[in-house]
Symmetry: C2
Subunit: 363 residues, 2 copies
């Protein structure tokens, strides 16, 4: 459903998903992560690329990207002691010990799934984690267990409140994954801002104006100038303007900040100076409410009703959340993941610096 | 935060909240509800009026309104046997036995709060309920228990999917209530469509165009004609257009439909022909994660950071969700609830037909 920042085919090199996974795992191993954690972190990134969410994939493995310098500078702990610091039968608070977000996030959702077994559902809040990549990954971890998965995280300040000038909230994504039968799972994975920051980058590069409702200037007013929007680092909440319901996008962003930041104790985005993050995960057993088969059959009917409905004038298809990503994943698993040559160059440079051979990537 | 369809002061009569509550309770008693249920149903409606959510208040107590004819025609069961039909320690599925939505909704949230005590949180799904008024009411029931409350319901088909022509989803509201300390509670209560249907009614009455992104015509295309929009009964999901993120509003509406309709077993909106509704409620103990005092102090800081932030040009104040409603509630508890003379006339007519005296309402 979400049109993320996808690589243009004509600038791309196709790399096999398994090869890429192996390489990125080795990079994380070289950065000091234990075997299992390195494999987890790599899987979260490669899965994003497989699903076309290129903005949250291996493109961040760069000499000056997110995770590599953080681990090298010791800002992220490669071998965290992740532990439960508070618990009840259906809840847990996890301390991530400043580990890599993808590893801490995985452990958090794993804990929610494990804990949901007896009580029927569970919530796990996580503190002292970091940037964890594609939110939908964690929600989707519930699917093989016939559970509904919910994941949220707050993020660095980049979104203004309705009527406000200061970016006090992050793009604060919400992801929900629901198993279906014949149909692919319903996977909603959305930032609570109108668009991701990367869309401004593309418009700026192309020299085209952006629509009203995407970004604000230094004064907090909606701007159509992508350069001004990027400089200001002020995205508008979903809805864009008050007239179009931006107070709802703002309210959802605040909700995510409360559940990830305040309930975990790490602090709301407006109180944080560093890269610490909190997350919120929930897992719900489908069979606590309905027999799994009946539930999936009903999901199939609902999704088919939406997909089979008449398109509006000028459109030829109605999609459901996660459908486009699912199709891309099938295609990319078969034909490889298209990576921009600059991304491949950065990946290789990281490998060179760490003594990991990237020759097989096609360079 | 939400600018609902408020009564114009110059057309209004001020009625004391307690007097109104007593009167509406008697109306529900006369319609066959047991004492406690009548008081609950009346409280849900009057609370909406107190908070300025006039579109979900006593204005629906009319000879041809929602609840009165439904009860009179036997479509709603005045004395339902509400019962748990499936349960685990942190979950329950409630059958509402086609009772009045406000009563069934109240029992559902009550069950979630009660069940959350030991496991730390609980989810309750409800089937065979009906239109239940203001969603925020149920979420706010968690507040006195130092819990976070979440409530959702699906609704009658009135919202089109992104790129679609057919209204297959409801306005499907989401409400979250979070306790704070000195600050009023954070109460998000939002439809997942750009606007409520009533806004088109107002624009049509005033003969002014509506902004793009609110409603679609018969073909599913965005229209600025409020009359065409009303006739088509096709609202657009939050975001309005794909460019402005309507696939996110659509995704959220589908999420609510799944959690309320499919998980409860009542069916997604696109499968229902009658007025049956499903709801989804959750309650989370704050102290399962943080000491209550520390949590509330952190909520206060977060809310103060937002409210104290610099307004954008042309604005003089940044609000948080629930703030405007909280202020209205204080004012209306003190000075009475403004009711349009037509609403009062309808309320009295219902009373006359049922043998309930409305003289004290000021007529």
């Amino acid at each position: 459903m979400q049109e993320k920042l996808r690589v243009r085919e004509d600038e791309a090199l196709r790399v096999d998903a398994g090869v890429l996974l192996g390489y990125v795992t080795k990079v994380f191993l070289a950065l000091g992560l234990p075997d299992e954690d390195a494999a987890i972190a790599a899987d979260v990134l490669v899965r994003a690329d497989l699903r076309g969410v290129d903005s949250h994939g291996v493109a961040h493995i760069q000499p000056e990207g997110f995770y590599v310098p953080w681990l090298r500078r010791g800002e992220v702990n490669p071998r965290p002691q992740i532990r439960v610091v508070a618990e009840r039968p259906a809840t847990a608070l996890l301390d991530g010990d400043h580990g890599l977000g993808m590893v801490v996030g995985y452990r958090g959702m794993e804990e929610a799934i494990r804990r949901a077994r007896d009580p029927g559902m569970a919530v796990v809040c996580v503190r002292n984690s970091g940037h964890f990549g594609m939110t939908g990954y964690y929600a989707m971890m519930a699917l093989p267990h016939d559970m509904i998965g919910l994941a949220m995280t707050h993020a660095s300040p980049m979104v203004v409140p309705t009527f406000g000038r200061d970016a006090l909230l992050g793009t604060n994504p919400i992801a929900l994954a629901v198993p279906a039968g014949r149909e692919p799972a319903f996977v909603l994975d959305m930032a609570t801002s109108t668009v991701a920051a990367g869309k401004l980058e593309i418009a700026a590069r192309m020299g085209v104006p952006i629509p009203e409702g995407w970004a604000a200037d230094q004064e907090g007013n909606s701007t159509t100038d992508p350069v001004a929007g990027r400089r200001a680092r002020r995205l508008l909440p979903l809805g864009g303007t008050r007239d179009q319901g931006s107070h709802k996008g703002y309210g959802l962003a605040a909700m995510v900040d409360i559940l990830s930041g305040v309930l975990s104790g790490v602090g709301a985005t407006s109180m944080l100076s560093g890269g610490e993050r909190g997350h919120f995960f929930a897992a719900i057993r489908v069979d606590a409410f309905q027999p799994v088969g009946e539930f999936k059959a009903m999901m199939d009917r609902m999704l088919a009703n939406l997909k089979g409905s008449t398109p509006a004038g000028g459109h030829d298809r109605v999609y459901v959340a996660g459908e486009i990503e699912h199709e891309l994943e099938i295609e990319r698993r078969a034909s490889g993941i298209p990576l921009h040559s600059e991304v491949v160059a950065g990946l290789c440079q990281v490998g060179e610096e760490l003594g990991v051979d990237c020759g097989f990537l096609g360079i």
